[in-house]
Symmetry: C2
Subunit: 701 residues, 2 copies
């Protein structure tokens, strides 16, 4: 059944033509009415988008979250009207939404926002992200099928569906498109179809000024199936919908390669003056030009936001089409459910992002006294959870062994001919190999999370979080349950030197609203970090993990040390000052520096100074606690405080306060063994103790 239903010849009546022209008029009206926006591409892409939504995609407006739907990703997010008008035709938006385009509180913001507008599969706008999301969705579809219905013939499973994306020159020029597209071909994503709107115009007008690559040849070099549909013919512009339809059909028949259709359009066609100009890309056309264009289209130039009744009735037939597709799919889906009771349980659990009973029992605990790097502890957790959490999958951007992200004995997700001696794998495998493509990885992780079902993680060195930062920001904006495994989290990585040593990264990542950065202080905190990260699928999490070994604290009863389960509160008293009453000073630390605070506490105790050690693995989680709890951990009355973290001080001033001290690193690192670096850069128990004395003196001064 479930190949996208598109094998019939194209039916394209005058009503379709008018519906397409109405898109152009609405796009002009929406921008004109608000006074700003991007009309041109919405006009020229009208037939292509209409064909997708009305004829090609398996899509049911009555259930935009239907798991069996084809996905549509508007990588060229600036032409949000291309999508909004299709959603209006589908009945998910109404005309009033288009009238409030780009206005406060509307469902039609400047760029499409997932979670804000029904039917928007992903938030796009930052260029190149969408194509990466689409690749991730196509990968997720395969992994989900592998978990739930691997025996079905291709196209014969309710879990088969396609991913369509529209990309623009901006997407094509951005480096992330290279990363994602190279990997898409490598993964033989036959379920992915990209339409490239090759209109020769970007914001600086004629793209000739900056671009001369042969995009089709480039995509063929990756291994894509490439077709060109030429609407710009010598002196004439012919919107040959049959040619486009035929290209779509050929693309759908490709099962082994992603497909690129290069569609040569004229932006803002048929606006008499604005067509083929950079202005029409991002500005209102002006009342006169809108009127002239409407005349050309045979519309009343005096009226705005007009949708003829017969046109509306025609396009709203999408509801019947969608219901029929959904009904057909439901039959196959129900048959699958009754034939697969166990997999049905897994499926339902995954859909709800519910973890199985007892899963936390699998999480290893680490013996006190043994030194373990938190990246190693993280790796042990991943291996331990793999058998009970089949939905958890991921990998690294070519640093698997360093990031400790490969669960024991699990196959790689790779076409069989690309499996290697080192990494056996198969079509439905589990371990992802992103290559040296951090940015592509970031967008792909978002696509996997957006697809739903599985839970992805991706890894690189913390310093290279910079390479994927635009995708991390979008994960935060969309509140996606993506987990980043960022190892080698400080100068403690040693000899690779300043290019590889994060200094500002913890601060810069904590700066992103909604991203939760977790930097565990020992192996058991690392295990707890995974537990809470998985339990809270409401936001992306970044785990910052050490390369070097750390002591594992003795947290047994009577040790005076709190259990690692306290990590869920973000910050907690790891070990209090000796004796009763308030401590003299509070030492706040994260990650590899937690041991320095513990050692400094001992030094200070010998001098009669009572120091409390607060472990603060996740500032965001601590901020989420109520004031009473936070005041218990950081008593307002104790102004003597030391924060210690092998990174810049910026995030810690608010915890240190006027009287506190911060042991931080305000410059780039250096190439040497990590013990030397920690000593030379002042990350020692002595310097923490000294900072405590100074802070105490300040409170008394």
């Amino acid at each position: 059944m479930t190949a996208s239903p598109a094998s019939e010849p194209l039916q394209w009546t005058d009503l379709d033509k008018r519906a397409v022209d109405t898109i152009r008029a609405l796009a002009m009206d929406a921008v004109e009415n608000t006074g700003n926006g991007h009309p041109g591409t919405a006009m020229s892409l009208a037939p292509a988008a209409y064909m997708l939504f009305q004829r090609l995609m398996r899509y049911d407006p009555a259930d935009p979250d239907w798991s069996g739907r084809d996905r549509f990703v508007l990588s060229a997010g600036h032409t949000s009207l291309t999508l909004y008008i299709q959603l209006f035709y589908a009945g998910l938006l109404d005309l009033d939404d288009l009238k409030h385009f780009r206005q406060w509180g509307s469902r039609t913001p400047g760029h499409p926002e997932h979670g804000h507008t029904p039917g928007v599969e992903t938030t796009t706008g930052p260029l190149g992200q969408g194509i990466g999301n689409a690749v991730g969705m196509a990968m997720a579809a395969r992994r989900e099928r592998g978990l739930l219905d691997p025996e079905a013939a291709l196209g014969g499973s309710p879990f088969d569906h396609r991913v369509f994306t529209i990309v623009s020159d901006g997407d094509i020029e951005e480096g992330i498109s290279h990363e994602a597209s190279a990997l898409a071909a490598h993964q033989k994503l036959g379920n992915l179809v990209a339409l490239y709107d090759d209109n020769l115009i970007s914001i600086e007008d004629d793209t000739t000024i900056a671009k001369s690559e042969d995009v089709g040849a480039r995509y063929e070099a990756y291994g894509w199936h490439v077709q060109t549909v030429e609407w710009r013919r010598s002196e004439d512009y012919v919107e040959d919908v049959e040619a486009l339809w035929s290209a779509y059909q050929t693309a759908l028949a490709e099962t082994d390669r992603p497909s690129l259709i290069v569609l040569k359009t004229i932006i803002a066609w048929p606006a008499p003056n604005a067509q083929n100009t950079g202005k029409s890309h991002g500005s209102a056309l002006g009342a006169d030009e809108v009127a002239s264009t409407k005349e050309i289209l045979g519309f009343d130039p005096a009226k705005s936001f007009v949708v003829e009744k017969d046109v509306l009735a025609h396009v709203r037939q999408l509801r019947e089409r969608g219901a029929a597709l959904h009904h057909e799919w439901d039959k196959a889906y129900k048959a699958w459910r009754s034939a697969n009771p166990e997999r049905t349980q897994l499926h339902d659990r995954m859909r709800e992002r519910r973890l199985p009973d007892g899963w936390t029992e699998r999480i290893p605990s680490f013996e006190a006294g043994k030194d373990v790097a938190t990246r190693k502890a993280s790796g042990a957790v991943i291996s331990a959870l793999a058998p009970v959490l089949p939905e958890l999958w991921g990998g690294s951007a070519d640093l698997a062994e360093s990031n400790n992200t490969t669960p024991d004995g699990e196959p790689s997700f790779v076409p069989p001919e690309y499996a290697t001696k080192e990494f056996p794998g198969d079509w439905y495998g589990r371990v992802l190999h992103f290559g040296i493509r951090e940015h592509g990885m970031g967008a792909i992780l978002n696509g996997i999370a957006l697809h739903g079902g599985t839970r992805p993680y991706g890894a690189t060195f913390l310093v290279f979080s910079d390479y994927m930062r635009p995708s991390v920001r979008l994960a935060a904006l969309m509140k996606l349950p993506v987990i980043y495994v960022w190892t080698h989290d400080s100068v403690g990585l040693g000899e690779d030197g300043p290019t590889h040593q994060p200094v500002e990264h913890l601060a810069a990542l904590r700066a992103i609203p909604g991203l939760e950065v977790i930097r565990p202080g020992d192996a058991n905190e690392a295990a707890a970090a995974w537990q809470f990260a998985l339990s809270r699928p409401n936001a992306p999490k970044g785990l910052a993990l050490t390369r070097q070994n750390l002591p594992t604290f003795d947290r047994s009863e009577g040790s005076g040390f709190a259990p690692a389960s306290e990590v869920g509160k973000g910050g907690y008293v790891l070990v209090d000052a000796p004796g009763d009453g308030l401590p003299d000073v509070v030492l706040i630390a994260t990650g590899s520096e937690l041991q320095l605070a513990v050692a400094a506490r001992e030094q200070l105790a010998a001098e009669g100074i009572g120091a409390r050690v607060v472990s603060m693995p996740c500032v965001e989680w601590f901020d989420d606690q109520d004031q009473a709890y936070r005041d218990t951990v950081l008593p307002p009355a104790v102004r003597a405080r030391v924060c210690v973290e092998a990174g810049i001080a910026q995030p810690w001033h608010r915890f240190a306060g006027d009287k506190g001290k911060i042991v931080s690193l305000e410059h780039f690192g250096a190439s040497a063994d990590y013990k030397t670096l920690f000593r030379e850069f002042g990350f020692t128990a002595d310097s923490v103790a000294q900072a405590a004395r100074e802070s105490l003196a300040a409170t008394r001064g």
Copy 2:
């Protein structure tokens, strides 16, 4: 004269072969001695690097900064030994440096660091950056030639030289390589030669697991000239140096296209067990394997760091070769100087990064009372300075009109056939069009600055600083005089919505050590920002500029407002509280929020509260002032403070202190007109005044 001298047939004696094998032994020894590092690629690239330094490049070890030299960029920075051993052969490093590889204080850190080790042209390691730097250097060479010697025939000017780079799989997979390489072909950089070490191995071992693109075809799609040199022949590995030489010769003959040589090597060859493995990429081979390899090479397995006298004498002949090349060049250079007295002045000034007398007089000042966006003021400054600062050039990543970065009437830097109606241009033009390639832009700007001579700037929206962040970090690490023009610097950009609105970016950029972020508060501060940014070529600067109009403050004598020249101090009293003595409260603001502080001051004055307004356009410059000055601006005795900035609070806690308040934005923005957003998000004079009252109350509480 000055084409790279390489037209003779290859002389390759047994001494050369031994010198190459000695590189392999030294690479193994250096890694073995330190216990970590990357030996494999240094071994297999030994002949290619040796040929470059010893035979091909115009290079004089006696003067590694010779402006006429060919540049060498090791984009694959992890194989730093590839470079260090050539620098040792050149006499710029000694054997002791190799013995202290990756150790504290050595000249041979894990990855090459420009400014730290003589002869290192750029800091590499983060993959893909080097190829972007090389593209920038090749562009800078052309621009410099255009300024100084445009009439000379190609190859006939002392300003003609070449840029060579070695790239690895990592560089090729990273998105930035796509951006930089597409632009390199577009710019027809015939002076650029890239050697791609196609060894089929990356850290996750066999690259087959993640990579199947046809790299040569991809580069041909960009428009590069591509050759393949196959050393891996069926069962045998033949280091055919003649074939490589011939490929280099062909590449040098290309004047219209950048050249890619795909060199198919075996990593760590001829190590019997380690060759062709991922382990040999990044780990010491182990004593036994090193010994076995030395035996294969005919070296004493018991000895380390051995360089035979005849080998050393042979390779050190590079000094004579270099002196001869330099001498020949000097003749042409002197002839050019005497024939071009005016250009000689410009040349000397550019080399010293000295600005011409009186240049600041060109900087416009802006009339009080007129509303001007700081991006517009910035554009006016660029246009005003263009005639007197020919070394200043730059452009935008496809946002020129929004970023206001095109100086009036200046031609674009573009091959003539790619000039457009919108942007007339020529081969030696001035306005750069990066395309939608922010990351490539970042690395290219670094390459231009590293090349020396000219002064580059590049522009995009502030939110997209994330796309170029890895390159910005490297600019800061190298202290390069690059200027970023980041406009649309807050939610004040309005309707484009949260994907385009920076919130965390000011904090995240200030977090980078050594980057100077300047956010001017009115048009005259924007002009001053440019003045100080250009005057201080010791670090990269980021200008954060508004899309929306801002009031231009009346700073005339008697106005009570300080002159904009105070911007150079980073923070200053814009206008003090009414009356004498200390103010009751200090309001600290940047950029578009400065006007709110000024308005709040009026409100508070009406209530009898004396508020001082401090403008803080550059926190880094303020931190550079002495304590006495800083205490004058922010009197320690005045604890009532308000910081206001339309971004996250993280950077401001240290200025606000325990009693202060911060008017900030701790969540993503929204799509609406900016006035609505400012009101809805609490950026109003009322809220600043209210925060001041609250802070005052806290100081009294």
